[in-house]
């Protein structure tokens, strides 16, 4: 009986996390189109609801009502499985994200490793989708994405090791606690090169512009998604945005002090800013990273595939390795307030 109660309590927490997340995903698509619109000097969606505010709901309704096609030559089981494989890890990874002190669904010791494992599962969605559809564009998209995601995962893994060296724990709440203090206590400052590498790798991992050769609408139409329609396409879309928010959350936890306010611990203004609760600071930091995503998309042209691979292997990995060496010297000498 008590097990049932416990599971129900956990389910309640999960629903309390997932429902707002869905709202954020929906309105992230709206925000993206609005921000891109402003950056292009146009209006963006403005017809449905006040200032286009109901646009995401209309989009969701439209996708649900469209026919879901399964191509005749496709491997039907895997074709249906692929969106699930893309979406489920993107949701499940949220289990270990701490929104505030103690505000976390699963407080596990290997949280960071679990997150890395879950994000590395996302690649199955792409590969299976591309292969099962039995279309040439899908196949090309799947191969490209597979090799790209896999290459940037190494750089990302090395970057996470840099954070671990500084914090000495894989528990995400403890990583945030290790950064307690004003904004110059956060890890973005001593680990700045690693932070940059992490961010670039994260953009590439989520297949966002300028690394979106997987979709490459001008060359391989939509890559692995080309045969998907209706909600099966919508799920890939949702997974992409859920992953973006996840990456933003992870960046805030590891480099931007999670739920702490930027002036935490400063004599006079610190307590004033601490009046705003931690989760709000955390969400504000995520919002900043999401804006960064859109800003980057509006600014940079798409990379060529060979340039992407070169950047991943020949620039990001050496930079992280060098900075890990520098960091071990920091750790040995106990440098600054961070180590």
């Amino acid at each position: 009986m008590e097990y049932v109660q416990e599971v129900l309590w956990i389910l309640a927490k999960i629903v309390a996390l997932i429902l707002p997340l869905f709202g954020v995903v929906a309105y992230l698509t709206y925000a993206e189109r609005k921000v891109l619109g402003w950056m292009h000097h146009r209006k963006g969606p403005n017809r449905i609801g006040f200032g286009g505010l109901l646009q995401p709901l209309a989009d969701a309704g439209k996708m649900l009502m469209k026919e879901v096609m399964i191509p005749a030559q496709a491997d039907k089981a895997l074709f249906v499985l692929a969106p699930i494989m893309a979406f489920a890890p993107a949701l499940a990874a949220w289990a270990v994200i701490p929104f505030g002190d103690g505000l976390v669904v699963a407080d596990i010791n290997v949280g960071l490793l679990y997150l890395l494992a879950m994000t590395s599962l996302g690649v199955y969605g792409f590969i299976l989708a591309g292969w099962s559809a039995n279309s040439k564009y899908s196949m090309l998209g799947a191969m490209r994405t597979g090799a790209q995601v896999v290459s940037y995962e190494i750089a990302m893994g090395f970057a996470l090791v840099g954070v671990l060296m500084a914090s000495g724990t894989m528990n995400l709440s403890d990583i945030v606690r290790a950064q307690e203090g004003p904004f110059w206590h956060w890890y973005w400052l001593p680990l700045f090169p690693i932070f940059l590498v992490y961010w670039i790798a994260a953009v590439a991992e989520t297949n966002r512009a300028p690394f979106d050769v997987a979709e490459g609408e001008s060359e391989i139409v939509a890559g692995y998604q080309v045969e998907y329609s209706g909600i099966s396409f919508g799920i890939f879309f949702l997974a992409e945005y859920a992953n973006m928010i996840l990456i933003g959350a992870l960046a805030s936890v590891m480099f931007f002090g999670g739920w702490y306010s930027p002036f935490h611990g400063i004599p006079v203004i610190g307590p004033i800013f601490d009046l705003i609760p931690g989760p709000i600071w955390f969400i504000a930091k995520i919002a900043f990273f999401l804006f960064l995503y859109i800003w980057i998309r509006a600014t940079f042209p798409r990379y060529r595939y060979d340039q992407i691979m070169r950047l991943g292997w020949k620039v990001l990995i050496p930079v992280t390795v060098v900075w890990l060496v520098v960091e071990s010297i920091f750790v040995l000498t106990g440098f600054g307030p961070w180590f």
């Binding site: 649900l64 499940a92 010791n109 290459s151």
Partner: protein
Amino acid sequence: MLENYLPILVFILFAVGFSIVFLAAGFVLGPQRPNPEKLTPYESGFNAFEDARMKFDVRYYLVAILFIIFDLEVAFLFPWAVVLDEIGGFGIAAMAVFIGILLIGFLYEWKKGALEWE
């Protein structure tokens, strides 16, 4: 320790179940009017002329192998970074040798041009 993993298990099951429900909703709410032309693979308006599951450049395979090796290296680095304060200079030296050996491999693949995509 295990009680911390119960939420993870529930969360994963929930995520999978949720995706399935979502997908099923699309099948239920949307129309189902298949016809042979609609179900052919998209190939810019032409009929598909051969199976899409063709042989691929072996380079993708090479990238996957190199990825496994470096992923293992990262997996070795994780516990090392956690206990760094305990094992101190000796641990750093041990890892320096480990990384050094793998760096030889990395330089080798760089010089051999295994990272080139022309």
